[in-house]
Amino acid sequence: MSGATRSPLSIVVHLSVLLLVALWTLPTAGLLISSLRDKDQLAVSGWWTALSTSTQNLVQRAASPESQVEKDGKFVIFGNLLEGQKGSVSAFGYSSREPAAFAPGQTAKLNDGEQLTVRADGSYEIVSDTRMEGTRGQRIFFTAAVPPRFTLDNYREVLSAEGIAASFVNSLTVAIPSTIIPILVAAFCAYALAWMRFPGRAILIAVVVGLLVVPLQMSLIPLLKLYNGVGAFLGVPAKTYVGIWLAHMGFGLPLAIYLLRNYMAGLPREIMESARVDGASDFDIFVKIVLPLSFPALASFAIFQFLWTWNDLLVAIVFLGTGQEQLVLTGRLVNLLGSRGGNWEILTASAFITIIVPLIVFFALQRYLVRGLLAGSVKGG
């Protein structure tokens, strides 16, 4: 297909992919940038403004009167409004009614006789003839041009949460077998549904499709009852890893069987026949021919199932529990949010932390979705 890539159309292709990628990435980019911002900024200005110098109206409290020093018989409080950050002040004021009443360098006379001077670099000085009282500093309103500022605090907060490492391992312990076991089980079933002859095959396929739709929430209570019963009967805890693997398997199977069966049914018949003539049993054909050739489908499904189990919270807390030892990563991160939610800075950062592993899985499996696995095997259209 080398010919096609050289046509002028290819520019259009590049541009349209670029556009789509931009559209798809933009919201996520917003999330990423937001997760690197100061949490108070999040709700005040758009994330894209974080990338450029912006003019902001700010309030800052001056140092408390306790820090005043006596100089030439006057009492003085020093400080810098920008607290070591870059930026420049273009106006200031001391009253919320007139937050930009003064230009930098001017001296404002406060109500109680003190004098406030703010310079463009943010440094200020409050001078008073008498000793200043109180514990809280004077509020200073100012307008400043602030360059972009980012912080890793949100990530630090999330990553330093207690038990996060254990939860990480828990999540893996849940997700890995919950991905592999269904694939194995579904692949066998899909092969039988695609290539073996037995009565009732078509009906079974339809049932599988129908089961795709069963709402997960419906199943939770009956199943947990069952688990409790089995657990009590066997004298083991009801909430175990085996239980959650099986649950994830059960919920993931319809999709897996459906995807894999459709893929397998499309494999060239001659190859299967050839193996059959070669003396291979169904088991051999499945393991040695069909499985390797179904890699694209297996990989696709593995990605989805892993994502689903990794990001899942509901099944995990129902079938594994919410205790400190069992909590999966998603559960742990959600618990970091206060009881009333809304800690967006934590949400944004943890969303990115949970994304990393699935993306690694996607990258790792993506190369198995290669073109032309069947190339050269049979001829003819």
Binding site: K39, D40, A43, S96, F141, L220, I221, L224, N228, L337
Partner: protein, 431 residues
């Protein structure tokens, strides 16, 4: 275990109650599972409290919570694997659990204890009494940790700058609202946004206004639908709220912004430069959403949402919310934990940290960590009427559904008659 306050060290605490409790119980080798609504910082605070229980009894305590705790507790109880203790903030949900027989009654002894030891004891007993599966009313919960909702937040320095006074009556508050507009400012920040729960902050407004315009009995009838939602008392309260929220000049961003502003973002307007607004009605938890470093009492403060001078016979009603602890699995450890919650120390330890109010008279008010908490505690103790958040008392479909939606529609432009008719229709549907 690591105890936050060393027993015996700080005289404000009632260490004696702790020592006594310690003598009475030995639960070594037993486990206690508690399922509660607190996560994040709240969870850490609660952990500091139950550490004393663990210290006293030697029990192996497992606390867990979940974002979907509401759903989680339904699943767990229904499936037959409940925790020992469930702590929930929703009377509606508790009523449902009780009616399905998943809760263990706490008995008359506890009822008596509540009457004796909690301020406005009867309101608390009423709150914690539900019908069991046979229809008999029983005490199922122990109220623990209360939020006061009848608060209006403001920035004292902004008031100073503009020369405003804290209003003492509702009439003053309305006058202040108009004055701020006259001065070219915007008085209120109201945000109803809360994702799927959008609308609930408005229900607090309506309930607060209901308590200030109607006697508590009407309020009680309202939440049980003994009077219809379309009753003039209810539409009146709605319209009163409409006076504040449905006036583009009174609210930051105009009426349209009310529905779409998240309740967590809404108070930030108080602190902007220049201030987007001067007043904000919200419960005691809201300081968590103030800008970092804001000191309550200094940078921001609150006053009691005043009552109408014209209706002085209604006194100082207080709207609140809170959590109730219940036994979902009757074990000695669970019983012991309920007993623990009756000790002053179980309250004081949390009081000494933050965001905890209690009507428990024996808990030393001096242990409150700061002045604002103490002030809230006083509001609670001084209340002539205490009423639990009405929407929490209503059935979930209403209190956490139709009522919210209705309020959104109300702010969006529908009339109070239309809205209440809609809610009543929904209520009829679930009867």
């Amino acid at each position: 275990a690591d105890l936050k306050f060393k027993p015996g060290e700080d005289a404000r605490f009632n260490w004696q109650s702790f020592e006594e409790f310690k003598k009475g119980y030995d639960l070594k080798g037993q486990t206690l599972t508690i399922f509660g609504p607190w996560r994040g910082e709240d969870e850490a605070l609660f952990k500091n409290v139950y550490a004393y229980f663990v210290e006293a009894t030697g029990v192996d305590l497992k606390y867990s919570s979940s974002e979907n705790y509401e759903q989680q507790i339904v699943i767990d109880t229904q499936a037959g694997s409940p925790p020992d203790i469930a702590i929930l903030p929703q009377p509606g949900l508790i009523a449902d659990l009780a009616s399905k027989g998943y809760l263990t009654p706490l008995g008359d002894e506890t009822k008596k204890w509540l009457l004796d030891n909690y301020a406005a004891g009867q309101s608390w007993v009423d709150l914690a009494t539900y019908k069991d599966q046979n229809g008999n009313a029983q005490l199922f919960g122990l109220p623990y940790k209360i939020d006061v909702k009848s608060l209006v937040w403001y920035v004292p320095e902004n008031f100073q700058d503009a020369g405003y006074e804290v209003p003492k009556t509702m009439e003053d508050l309305k006058a202040l609202t108009e004055k701020i507009v006259a001065d070219g400012g915007t008085p209120w920040c109201i945000g109803l946004g809360s994702g799927g729960a959008t609308g609930w902050p408005a229900t607090d407004w309506v309930e607060d206004l209901m308590l200030r315009t109607q006697p508590p009995e009407t309020y009680d009838k309202w939440v049980t639908n003994a009077i219809p939602f379309t009753d003039a008392a209810v539409t009146g309260a709605l319209d009163e709220f409409g006076w504040f929220a449905k006036n583009d000049k009174f609210v930051a961003g105009g009426t349209a912004a009310v529905v779409s502003t998240d309740f967590r973002d809404s108070p930030k307007g108080l602190f902007s430069s220049p201030p987007k607004c001067y007043l904000h009605h919200q419960a005691s938890f809201i300081p968590s959403f103030f800008p970092a470093g804001t000191v309550v009492g200094e940078d921001a403060d609150f006053f009691y949402m005043p009552a109408y001078a014209a209706k002085s016979e209604l006194g100082n009603p207080v709207l609140g919310a809170g959590t109730l602890a219940m036994i979902t699995k009757d074990t000695p450890a669970a019983r012991a934990f309920i007993e623990f919650l009756k000790t002053p120390i179980a309250h004081e330890v949390w009081m000494a940290q933050s965001s905890f109010l209690t009507p428990f008279k024996s808990a030393n008010k001096d242990t409150y960590a700061n002045a604002p908490m103490k002030k809230q505690g006083e509001i609670l103790l001084n209340s002539t009427t205490f009423r639990f958040d009405g929407s929490d008392l209503m059935p979930g479909k209403i209190g956490a559904g139709a009522f919210w939606t209705g309020m959104v529609d109300f702010v969006g432009g529908k009339s109070s008659a239309e809205v209440t008719a809609g809610v009543q229709k929904a209520w009829d549907a679930i009867k």
